[in-house]
């Protein structure tokens, strides 16, 4: 149906972003393809080494799932920050990634975990790494006629450290700035550090200079001042009615100190 109707067709899953856009006349598709009845998309399960989250898994379902805290502790920390109870009952993790709102938590978490996106299309299935998925504002690797079918997250290992923090004016609001992070702790040092900010640009943004500052650093003496200073090179957040560029940059530093504290502790 997507191929038949082209740009006039949109997929609707949880609809918690798309319906708001329709109501505000920001999107005017002539055809909606509702995938809620499609079997096999609502499972959260182990798939090989990975955790696989089907496109119809809803936030509330994931939060209740026994595998979440064990296999995706970063998501377990981030999901309570996503919107409100009524929206978590309906919205999907996959939909958030496909929509790619730069202020949303899920794209940043997927990128921080080095996850991937499973895609189906008329040319067959393919998998795209999160690193290559987010192209620009609401623009992703999804091509015309393609659909996100699942998120893949690398299996959690005992040396994996995760951290999450965001600053929002009210519980459930989009964050002014947020940070999702993961790393490994090997021989008392951090390695494979990934710091992904959201609400700071057109896509989730990796703070690569700050990551480099923390890479290989001893857990008991992380060079936080240097890492925070490096954010000046990594981030150029926008000024809007919510907050100025400088406020966002300052908050990014505050969040980095909080999240670095989480990275020094084993995941409980």
């Amino acid at each position: 149906m997507l191929a038949q109707h082209g740009e006039d067709a949109r997929i609707i899953a949880g609809g918690q972003s798309l319906m708001a856009m329709l109501n505000m006349r920001l999107a005017k598709p002539s055809v909606l393809v509702d995938i809620n009845g499609v079997p096999g998309l609502a499972e959260l399960e182990h798939s090989g080494e990975d955790l696989r989250i089907g496109a119809l898994v809803r936030y509330a379902q994931a939060l209740r799932h026994p595998l979440l805290a064990i296999s995706a502790p970063l998501l377990a920390r981030a999901l309570p920050h996503v919107a409100h109870a009524a929206i978590r009952n309906r919205g999907t993790l996959g939909g958030s990634v496909a929509f790619a709102d730069p202020a949303a938590e899920m794209p940043a978490c997927l990128l921080a975990l080095g996850g991937a996106v499973e895609i189906a299309g008329l040319d067959g299935p393919r998998t795209v790494a999160a690193d290559d998925f987010f192209h620009d504002l609401y623009e992703t690797a999804l091509a015309q006629g393609e659909m996100l079918t699942a998120l893949r997250i690398p299996g959690h290992t005992p040396d994996r450290r995760v951290g999450f923090a965001e600053f929002a004016r009210r519980a459930g609001d989009y964050a002014l700035v947020g940070l999702a992070a993961s790393a490994r702790a090997v021989d008392g040092r951090l390695t494979e550090v990934r710091l992904v900010y959201f609400s700071v640009g057109a896509t989730p943004v990796r703070a690569r200079t700050a990551e480099a500052a923390l890479e290989g650093a001893p857990l008991d003496a992380l060079p936080l001042d240097a890492a925070v200073a490096a954010l000046e090179d990594d981030l150029d957040p926008p000024t809007d009615i919510q907050a100025s560029r400088d406020t966002r940059l300052h908050l990014a530093g505050v969040l980095l100190r909080q999240v670095a504290g989480q990275l020094t502790e084993p995941v409980a």
Binding site: M1, Q4, G15, A83, H84, A85, I87, N89
Partner: protein, 173 residues
């Protein structure tokens, strides 16, 4: 792609259960659940505030879980169980909560109240006495623009305490 695709339709026949009663209606594919409840079924207790998922005034239960009726199409509710504030009021499920809202002065204009009650009922149904912070968090998606929130939190908390007391009394009896 194999098989025949269903055609895209502008109208469809919708069958669902609303407040325990089977309903069958012709609806426009573009109609929201909130508009369907209010305009087609005349269930105007579900209020429409912002119409983009922010204010919570249109909160209803869909298959047992609260959702925004403005962010769901009626057509997506084929075969579903929908409960509105009218259903919860008539069944008596939240009579104590409504009484507590009255006693605590937890409403003034009342516009947000149906949504507040729907959201609070879900939290109360989990049982126990939630911390005030947990009540605030659960109601954070529901805006009130006149009383403010303290009285609403008070009403939910006192209802939870009263239900817990009653459960203890029944267990001890």
């Amino acid at each position: 792609m194999t098989g025949t695709l269903p055609p895209a339709r502008e109208h469809l026949t919708l069958r669902l259960v609303v407040n325990g009663a089977a309903v069958e209606e012709e609806v426009e594919a573009r109609r929201s659940l909130a508009d369907f409840l209010r305009e087609t079924l005349g269930l105007t207790g579900t209020h429409l505030g912002c119409e983009h998922g922010v204010c919570g005034a249109c909160t209803v239960r869909l298959d047992g879980a609260i959702v925004r009726a403005c962010l769901i199409l009626a057509a997506q509710c084929e075969g579903a169980q929908v409960e509105t504030i009218e259903g919860l009021s008539d069944s008596g499920e939240i009579a104590d909560l409504q009484q507590a809202f009255h006693h605590r002065n937890a409403l003034q204009c009342g516009f947000c109240t149906p949504g507040m009650l729907m959201a609070a009922a879900e939290l109360l149904a989990d049982g126990g006495v939630p911390e005030r912070d947990a009540i605030r968090e659960h109601l954070s998606g529901n805006y009130c623009r006149c009383t403010g929130y303290h009285a609403i939190i008070d009403a939910v908390e006192s209802t939870a305490k009263a239900r817990a007391d009653q459960a203890r009394a029944e267990a001890g009896a």
